[in-house]
Symmetry: C2
Subunit: 315 residues, 2 copies
DNA sequence: CCTTGACTTGAAATGGATTTCATAAATTAG
DNA sequence: CTAATTTATGAAATCCATTTCAAGTCAAGG
């Protein structure tokens, strides 16, 4: 491999001059600039990025910690992040965690080793106390709200959105509702439960099913809900794919949506458009974009992204 | 930032010894190893990855050129790649191209600048002739077959799979079929047309719609197909989301699937399971895994991944 | 004619590790 | 008891580019 020294030697100048040419520095004699460029061309030379990153202490690369990469919600986040990164000529490295604490720490160590300028945590397994020390080594942005001032946040006010969704169901005449969530231990699930109590009061037993991720999970969840002695008349699904599964199960039982069963989904995903599902759109793409912007700007601001309810025919 | 020299000084040893401790080299006196580790701990030291990559000339990072990152097919590929990378402790950097020749070249230049050990091209805009010279700088693996020996391939025999799918429709009594594709100029589309001619002969005008990516595109395509004077009785969709859209349009017109309209999709995606869509599963996740393995092994083998037809109720 | 500022250039320091080479001490084998 | 290994360590070279510092040329302004 040819390096900058070779170029300098062949062009009969110093490495400083070659570097100046490479970086478009103003004061280089025209003839020298040309001969340097000629040698670079001839030798098919490209500067070594590691040497540059080493000395500059910057990589223009962001790591994105993602528990699952085949999940539509995280996909939307990632899409937003990628779009904004592309716009700003940053690269994105995907860091799958499967909610493993060890993996997460491994990735944070890479921030410390200067591999990334910053990290976006879409969802996490570790405590903030464990994570925060790493904010010394690069900006850390979370897609979930936290008080900690060391962490930038691009987040959704999920509690409010859950209140709104439940209220919508209540206004339609339902005095209870069932719902599904992804992880039982997540913050989001806690907020969901709180919002439920706020609107409907006590949660009937069997009205909450966790670990729902895909269409099939929704199908199964609906089956379980509808086999309960006291059938729910409305369901709030944690995603439109899950809601889609519920819809398909209801249809398979000759039930009418929304008259026999109201279904509201989340995230305004493609499947919901076709099925006419009413959905709480948390605008995850925008959440991702904003998160990426914060990392790029090394900002620790707390940015709340507005959600909206997209009304179709399933409620 | 503390570096290896600081550690050496504080521990009263040479940098070589510190490096030996860091790399678990056998021959270091127990007491020195311990004092080095103690200083590392105290100083909260982590080696700089760029310095390591610079001298080792290796990064354990793979770049993945991806035209769209919100497309279910490319998502499946990416998932496979990520799974295999995780298993082998490689990192994945996502390189969105939108089929831009310039972007692609930019990414290949990064391979040359040593940022990646290799690149996976899931789909491309540039000619192979333009791409091949970069194989000198790292392994390049394609998810599409090419004769060129410089490029590793993890691919699907699409032509065969298209023949099989059309033959299936023909066996069910259809003597023509309509179909959709993603990009008009893609290799895959050419093979689709060839396969069509092979099985059905001449393509009726209006029986091929391109630029179909999502459920809504499928919905619209079905509408167009079914408004033709000579309605097709069967459609081969380039993806289950697209097929799902077609299914929903057919249903909205009170048509029965498969008796009024047969639909076959591709890639065995979640939406198709719920809708009972027959689908050609190209096992893109496996294609991704294999592609990643090839890059890691720096292999230029041509690996054909078998496809299978998943029979459900839509044909 | 002298001063000032705009150009132009190269030597050397810098970023931070790994690795080879040389050397020396401590064992082990014969 | 000597020769051959094994163990242990540091100096210095290496990977490759950027940037500061110092110094020099040249033209314009007073």
């Amino acid at each position: 491999m040819t390096n900058i020294n070779d170029i300098a030697r062949l062009a009969g100048v110093s490495v400083s001059t070659v570097s100046r040419v490479l970086n478009n520095y103003k004061y280089v004699a025209k003839n020298k600039r040309e001969s340097v460029l000629k040698v670079i061309e001839e030798m098919n030379y490209t500067p070594n990025k590691h040497a540059i990153d080493l000395i500059r202490g910057e990589t223009r690369t962001i790591g994105v910690i993602l528990p699952y990469n085949n999940n539509p919600s995280f996909d939307q986040l990632l899409n937003g992040i990628l779009a904004k990164a592309l716009e700003n000529e940053f690269l994105i490295t995907v860091l799958p965690s499967k909610y493993s604490k060890e993996k997460e720490m491994e990735y944070l160590e890479k921030l410390k080793s200067k591999l990334f300028d910053g990290i976006i945590i879409t969802s996490r397994a570790n405590d903030w106390e464990t994570i925060i020390p790493y904010s010394d080594y690069g900006s850390i942005v979370s897609c979930e709200y936290t008080e900690h001032t060391e962490i930038g946040c691009s987040y959704i006010d999920r509690y409010s959105s859950f209140l709104d969704a439940f209220q919508l169901l209540k206004n339609k005449g339902h005095h209870t509702a069932a719902f599904t969530t992804a992880r039982l231990e997540s913050n989001s699930t806690k907020q969901m439960l709180d919002a439920y109590h706020e609107i409907f009061g006590a949660l009937p037993s069997g009205y909450h099913i966790s670990d729902c991720l895909c269409l099939e999970d929704g199908y199964e969840a609906a089956k379980q809900f509808l086999q309960l002695p006291e059938r729910p008349t409305a369901i709030y699904a944690n995603g439109d794919e899950v809601a889609g599964g519920m819809y398909l199960y209801a249809k398979s039982q000759q039930m009418k949506v929304p008259s026999d069963l109201a279904i509201i989904g989340q995230e305004n995903q493609p499947v919901g458009i076709g099925l006419g599902l009413t959905t709480v759109d948390h605008q995850l793409m925008k959440v991702g974009e904003q998160a990426c912007s914060l990392v790029i700007k090394k900002s620790r601001k707390k940015m709340k992204i507005p959600y909206r309810i997209v009304v179709r025919e399933s409620v």
